[in-house]
Amino acid sequence: MIDVLYFAWVRERIGLPREQVETSAATVADLVEELRSREERYAAAFADLSALRVAIDQELTEFDAPLDGAREVAFFPPMTGG
């Protein structure tokens, strides 16, 4: 069971800020594939991965990163702080 978090327009497209996902995906990209195949709103949110960033356990990482041992995965657009 992994906590999956969504921020900014990813949160808006998917319609919720976080959910628990039962998955055996090996990598972030595999998890994205699973989510995409669920419902149209996920497919829409994950349509263009180049417009997305991902963090595992609150550290920025890449889509090919392994999910092994991850407790929390977050998807969001490029940051715009400052």
Binding site: F7, L60, A74, P78
Partner: protein
């Protein structure tokens, strides 16, 4: 050292004075203040800043640690607000203190460049027509390459 992530407004001048008072042997204190700008049409009603509680504090502390590794800094301050802000309001500030001005300036620029593109904040602008998420700028991503 201090990283503060908060909804509340803060007094930049008081923070600069307090920071400076703690760094009497520094020689050089640089501060940067970010302010909510109106849009080109002047129709911005408010800005909302979303963040990722937990990761935000870690990311800012990590950026501070990197700056301290690269420059001899006596102190660093980062304050960033989230939630609703009106045009003209202060969004955030950083301050750096060092013996020499170049280290203080470079470290402040480094903190700002990393904070812009690597700390999990997202800006949303509201006008009478609705809301838009602010898009990240290539120029901000490119700015990281100089460090």
């Amino acid at each position: 050292m201090a990283v503060q992530v908060q909804k509340e407004a803060f007094d930049v001048g008081a923070e600069v004075n307090c920071f400076t008072a703690g760094c009497k042997d520094a020689g050089a204190v640089v501060s940067f203040t970010g302010i909510v700008r109106n849009n080109a049409d002047g129709t911005l009603q408010r800005m909302q800043i979303e963040h990722y509680p937990g990761m935000t504090e870690k990311a800012l502390a990590g950026i501070e640690a990197q700056a301290r590794d690269r420059w001899p800094l006596q102190d660093v301050l980062i304050i960033h607000r989230h939630g609703d802000l009106a045009p003209g309001e202060v969004i955030m500030m950083v301050a750096t203190a060092s013996k020499h001005r170049m280290a203080a300036f470079e470290a402040a620029e480094f903190l700002m460049d990393y904070l812009k593109s690597r700390a999990p904040f997202w800006k949303q602008e509201f006008t009478a027509q609705g809301s838009d998420w602010v898009a990240a700028k290539d120029v901000d991503e490119d700015a990281l390459k100089r460090w």
